[in-house]
């Protein structure tokens, strides 16, 4: 069950890499966020209030609040598609496949704790982090870059699931709040960039150079 969900998360990575429609990208990251919430409940063996609270919080923030902020930003600035990414969709899918392969190899070289041997948690986390990186570095639109950052954060969240006992409630809440506020500020910036440059292409943000 755990692995089936993780495979879905990985498939969503590829979906994001292969699509040009911004709404689809945002929806895919939202779905990923909700899946992470479900995962967070599944990794706990006994039910108690605290992990459920965190899982619901994560699903609400990553799956509802942040996508809503991004969709609103998208509507405000009236754009729908990513145009001409720095590398095409097929090459970026290919890069995603290579990154996923590398993540599995790298996770294979690290000694895993016995409860995680054969599980997709560690390789899935690393693959998602790398996918986030690819999206961040190869897309031009500010909104897609934010989505890349979100995917990266999702990957880290999966890694966090291996250590649920070590991370106190306060810190989990802090991490989620920081993410939410961060995206909120980025949303404001996106609006300003669009107003200032009449475009969301981060290409326009290239006046500062040597």
């Amino acid at each position: 069950m755990l692995d089936a969900l993780l495979v879905t998360v990985l498939l969503l990575n590829f979906f994001v890499l292969g699509t040009s429609r911004l709404r689809a990208v945002i929806n895919a990251t939202a779905l990923q966020g909700v899946l992470l919430g479900v995962l967070a409940i599944l990794v706990h063996h006994e039910f108690s209030a605290r992990p459920v609270l965190i899982a619901v919080g994560a699903a609400l923030i990553k799956g509802v609040a942040i996508p809503w902020l991004l969709l609103r930003a998208m509507r405000d600035v009236a754009i729908r598609r990513e145009v001409e990414p720095f590398i095409g969709y097929i090459p970026s899918l290919f890069a995603g496949a290579v990154a996923t392969g590398l993540a599995i190899v790298f996770a294979g070289t690290l000694p895993l704790a016995e409860q995680h041997v054969g599980s997709l948690l560690v390789p899935g986390s690393l693959a998602t982090v790398l996918t986030g990186f690819i999206v961040l570095t190869t897309r031009r639109k500010a909104i897609t870059q934010v989505a890349g950052y979100l995917i990266l954060e999702n990957g880290i969240f999966i890694m966090g699931l291996t250590l649920v006992e070590a991370i106190p409630f306060l810190v989990e809440v802090g991490v989620l709040l920081d993410l939410l506020v961060g995206i909120f500020i980025m949303g404001i910036m996106i609006y300003q960039i669009n107003r200032e440059f009449a475009s969301l292409d981060t290409d326009r943000l290239s006046h500062l150079r040597e």
Binding site: P111, A113, Y149, I156, T162, L208
Partner: protein, 477 residues
């Protein structure tokens, strides 16, 4: 006590949000700075400062970092009052609140003993500094803020991944996973070595991004170039040192695990590379605020280099952190005055600053001599200590490269600074209304005084702080 240090500025930040008067609000910032400084001085006289059941402890290096941060913040706050008064019609509500919240978060980083808590505080510094960067509302500052926000957030996200790797190293070592610093240092020999090493590399890249080490420094010239000078001071003298503190904590875990060598090598290579990058980009740099950013990259490199060399180099690095932080304050604040008087920050238009703004021009010149390691200023002493440690440790190649790059940087930076201060100002620059006044030059004068003092005589309590910090980092065989 440990909690008061964080809560007092945070409460003042809330008050700043509530005050309706744009004219009175900026006074809160120096007030908060003074309160913070008083609390820090009191805390440093206490033998042990802790709170939240051991989650907050003011330990060796953190005491030094916090003392420096607090002094710099207070002086920047005095400057901020004068700065904001120049823009009476622009709302400073968010700016004041963010500045106070920023110092609260820097304090939290210094005190946090839980890696997760430290991470949350670090990410919050990114979020609170972004609105300060964008205070001027120009397209260029927008671009700089976007890069700062995105690169900073990604760097810090990596740091979270690294912290989790560290926790996993404990789990794999058969320990109860914990992200408390004390637990990790105590159990360090049992941590899983491959996970520990991967963790250190990721953490070094993550917090190194915040510190602005090359090649993760790309946000720095843009952010420092476009940010108001006092924000540059807070980033270059406060935030970067807090990120350095974070890296030192992970270095300490590595050395407690009996595996400091690879961390030290990583620091030496990155340190020299940062100096090299700074040297290349400072040559013929026309924009003097960007030049200061590269100077910050250089000195962050010197800090990790000193720790990487070890021995007396650690003492040198601790002293240099103090010297660099204070001197950066002099440079950024005087550069900001010159920028404002000329309405430009490139050597194409800025000439004769000594004539146009005698005090700020002199401060920039003195700050330049200080930061490039000329006697009798403090940085000379600390750079000399690091060089000495390299030679006595038989690292002759490192020592030669270090010296070579200091010379290259001296000439590169000198060309720009001398163009700015010498000559005759253009009639256009003479016509602007900005003049040096008390609140915009006094902080710089105090800072250069401190830098000069550190070069001639280090007072007992300060010496004690530096020695304690260095002793906390020494590798125990």
């Amino acid at each position: 006590m440990a909690i008061a240090l964080i809560v007092v500025p945070l409460l003042l930040a809330l008050v700043a949000l509530a005050i309706p008067s744009n004219r009175l609000r900026p006074w809160l910032v120096p007030l908060g700075g003074a309160a913070h400084l008083a609390l820090v001085i009191y805390a440093l006289t206490e033998a042990r400062v802790s709170g939240l059941g051991g989650w907050l402890v003011l330990d060796g290096v953190a005491r030094l970092v916090l003392a420096l941060t607090s002094v710099l913040f207070f002086l920047s706050a005095v400057y901020a009052r004068g700065y904001l008064a120049l823009y009476p019609h622009r709302s400073n509500r968010v700016f004041c609140a963010c500045m106070l919240a920023f110092v609260a978060m820097l304090t939290l980083i210094a005190e946090a003993q839980h890696l997760g808590l430290m991470w949350v505080a670090m990410e919050t510094t990114t979020l609170t500094s972004a609105p300060m960067l964008y205070f001027q509302r120009t397209p260029l500052s927008l671009e700089a803020t976007w890069k700062y926000l995105l690169i900073g957030s990604v760097g810090i996200a990596l740091a979270l991944l690294g912290s989790l790797f560290l926790g996993y190293a404990a789990l794999r070592g058969g320990l109860d996973p914990s992200l408390l610093l004390d637990d990790l240092i105590r159990d360090a020999p049992r941590l899983s070595r491959p996970w520990l090493r991967s963790a250190f590399i990721i953490l070094f890249v993550g917090y190194g991004t915040k510190m602005g080490l090359a090649p993760m420094h790309s946000w720095k010239p843009d952010a420092y170039g476009e940010a108001p000078g006092l924000v540059g001071t807070l980033l270059a003298g406060g935030l970067t040192n807090c990120a350095f503190l974070a890296i030192l904590r992970f270095y300490k875990i590595c050395s407690a695990a009996g595996d400091p060598r690879f961390a030290e090598e990583l620091m030496i290579v990155t340190g020299l590379f940062s100096m090299g990058v700074a040297g290349v980009f400072m040559a013929r740099q026309k924009d003097f605020k960007r030049m200061l950013a590269y100077s910050s990259v250089e000195h962050m490199g010197i800090l990790v280099l000193g720790v990487g060399i070890g021995g007396a180099g650690i003492f040198g690095a601790m002293l240099h952190m103090l010297n660099n932080g204070l001197t950066k304050g002099v440079l950024f604040l005087s550069a900001a005055n010159i920028h404002r008087a000329y309405g430009s920050k490139t050597t194409d238009e800025v000439r004769g600053a000594l004539h146009r703004l005698p005090v700020s021009g002199a401060l920039l010149l003195a700050g330049f001599f200080a930061i490039t390691g000329s006697p009798p200023f403090g940085p000379f002493l600390s750079e000399f200590t690091i060089l000495n440690a390299a030679i006595s440790g038989a690292h002759y190649v490192i020592a030669t490269l270090f010296l070579l790059m200091l010379v290259v940087i001296f000439t590169g930076m000198g060309a720009t600074v001398l163009t700015v201060v010498q000559g005759k100002p253009s009639p256009k620059a003479e016509a602007t209304t900005f003049r040096d006044d008390f609140s915009t030059v006094a902080p710089g004068i105090v800072l250069i005084g401190l830098v000069l003092m550190l070069g001639i005589y280090i007072p007992g309590p300060v010496d004690g702080l530096i020695r304690d910090a260095a002793a906390a980092l020494e590798t125990k065989p």
